[in-house]
């Protein structure tokens, strides 16, 4: 999604002189197309995420639309209070771009996981949050949300090749995309990990279980009526996220089920304990945390027993 992000940003910037790009020293081999085309609108602020957000606030107050780029945890967690007191309190169009949501930087270790970004930002009503599931949807989401007047957080994946089957770049603001319609059970997945849910759905079909898949790309605001109508179609629901199970779509789904009095059973799959230091590839980590397709199949069968 990194390439799609930069290419779309360049396209948007050609038509909108308010757009500037800030990075806290990350984006080598990714941001260059923007830098080459708009050298005067690009600033590497240094390894200084707080300054990146403070600077963006001052720029946005004067009419700019600054995009602030870093790895998810550096973009969100380090400058969190700056995000709150800056663009959120001032209601300014600062865009925070977090790369590598979840455990995409798996072998980099726990300091590089972005597994609570949605949780800490979703509690802020004043920021829009989008987690595109693949490159095509990244492009659509960036274009469709370009005119939002307040702050936006984009949680991106770094894999340019990832394609979520059936998504085809579709995006309806606030609404999950119901990619696979099932009868027995629903996987509701946040972002790119939807591919694991789709793979699990296919495996379950071979075992005679009809599992639907929905991908959630809008985390804030959410069309709760639409979301509830989707959940009502199923008796068994499994939320899937490369995120702690508290605060992300597991929590969001539980909120909607409870508030809308939907009689379905929910199992939340994601990270539920502090990382213990064991690292490996993303596939290894997905399996380890129970969010790979095989583990999702087991979770589904266990739930429906």
């Amino acid at each position: 999604m990194r390439r799609a992000f930069v290419e779309t940003l360049v396209k948007l910037a050609r038509g909108d002189s308010r757009i500037v790009l800030l990075t806290a020293d990350l984006g080598f081999n990714a941001l260059e197309p923007f830098v080459q085309e708009f050298p005067g609108r690009f600033f590497n602020v240094g390894i200084a995420e707080q300054q990146m957000l403070a600077l963006a606030t001052g720029l946005a107050e004067a009419g700019f639309v600054p995009f602030c780029y870093s790895i998810v945890n550096f973009a969100v967690l380090r400058p969190y209070e700056f995000i709150r007191n800056g663009p959120i309190l001032h209601r300014l169009p600062v865009r925070i771009v977090g790369m590598g949501g979840g455990i995409e930087y798996a072998s980099n270790g726990a300091t590089h996981y972005g597994i609570e970004d949605i949780g800490v930002l979703r509690v802020q009503p004043g920021i829009s949050i989008y987690a595109p599931a693949d490159s095509a949807q990244t492009e659509t989401i960036l274009e469709r949300t370009a005119s939002i007047s307040g702050p936006v957080y984009y949680r991106l994946g770094k894999d340019d090749r990832l394609v979520v089957p059936g998504l085809n770049g579709h995006f309806t603001p606030g609404c999950p995309e119901h990619l696979v319609v099932g009868r027995d059970l629903l996987f509701i997945a946040m972002g790119g990990i939807a591919v694991e849910a789709i793979a699990a759905s296919r495996k379950l079909a071979q075992r005679g279980v009809s599992a639907g898949v929905a991908v959630v790309s809008s985390l804030n605001p959410v069309d709760r009526t639409f979301y509830a109508d989707l959940l009502r179609c199923y008796k068994y629901i499994i939320s899937v996220e490369a995120h702690y199970i508290n605060g992300g779509i597991g929590s969001l789904t539980a909120e909607v089920l409870a508030e809308c009095e939907i009689p379905a059973r929910l199992v939340r799959k994601g990270l539920s304990a502090t990382p213990d230091g064991i690292t490996g590839s993303q596939a290894f980590m997905y399996a380890r945390y129970g969010i790979g397709s095989e583990q999702l199949v087991h979770a589904a069968l266990e739930m429906m027993q």
Partner: protein
């Protein structure tokens, strides 16, 4: 330009603090002349909504009462609004809120305002505007690492349209700066970050106005005015006392404070 009388500012600070029964009095008294100079003749502001106005950030947001009083004396807020300070359903709380008339940026969390001001200065440069950005910081605030992130950025990008006024009163919330994280060499530190540093008496309005009107805002370095100030300036029992970072005044203290301010006026 309309001059602002620092004695009148101080008397309003005391009145409002007493009425609202709140503290931060010493911090507010410390920056009175800095604000009188800025809002008297330096800041260019054709109207509060003029996009080409100079930007100001009170990075040490806890001294906002001083700012509100100056806004009142400039006619930007009414006496009724000033009298709502720290009351119910008011925009005038202890720390500045940007929805309040005259306030460009919300502050109150230390170490953020100078970064906002750096953004305002960079924005002006990118837009080819002569706008400038000013911020008042405290010496204690320089404890925050983010201050130095902003200082490095402004130095690197030679934001000469950015001016920080450092209110060096030697105190912070729970101790003297020399005992907490020694700030003796702040002038050298800021200079080392590429800033044009000037040391000045922070209570001498004429000197402040002269210096601020002669800085090279189109030069090659951002400006730091290291303003030597007295915490609680003008009220003998508050000067240099940690207690007056937080404490409100009792009736007797209030009476004495007002008398001293009025005597200082004569």
């Amino acid at each position: 330009m309309r001059t602002i009388n620092p004695g009148i500012v101080r008397s309003h600070i005391l009145q409002q603090s007493k009425r609202a029964n709140v503290g931060h009095i010493g911090s507010a008294l410390s920056i009175v002349e800095l604000l009188c100079a800025l809002y008297g003749s330096i800041l260019r502001c054709a109207s509060l909504s003029d996009p080409e106005r100079d930007r100001f950030v009170l990075s040490k947001g806890h001294a906002a009462l001083s700012l509100y009083v100056v806004f009142y004396l400039k006619g930007w807020i009414t006496k009724g609004e000033l009298d709502s300070y720290c009351g119910d359903c008011t925009l005038l709380g202890v720390h500045p809120e940007h929805r309040s008339a005259g306030v460009d940026f919300c502050t109150g969390s230390m170490g953020m305002g100078i970064g906002f001001a750096a953004g305002a200065a960079l924005a002006a440069r990118l837009q080819g505007s002569d706008r400038r950005a000013f911020a008042i910081l405290s010496d204690g605030e320089c404890n925050e690492g983010s201050v130095w992130e902003a200082a490095m950025f402004a130095g690197q990008h030679r934001l000469s349209n950015l001016t920080a006024l450092l209110d060096c009163n030697g105190q912070q919330a729970f101790g003297y700066t020399k005992d907490v994280l020694n700030a003796d060499n702040l002038a050298e530190r800021w200079a080392a970050f590429g800033w044009d540093v000037q040391v000045i008496d922070g209570h001498d309005i004429a000197a402040l106005e002269h210096l601020l009107s002669t800085l090279d805002y189109r030069g090659s370095r951002p400006h730091l005015l290291l303003a030597r100030t007295v915490f609680g300036k003008g009220v003998s029992y508050m000067e240099g006392k940690i207690k007056w970072h937080y404490s409100p005044m009792n009736d007797q203290e209030y009476g004495q404070a007002l008398r001293e301010i009025y005597q200082g006026q004569e």
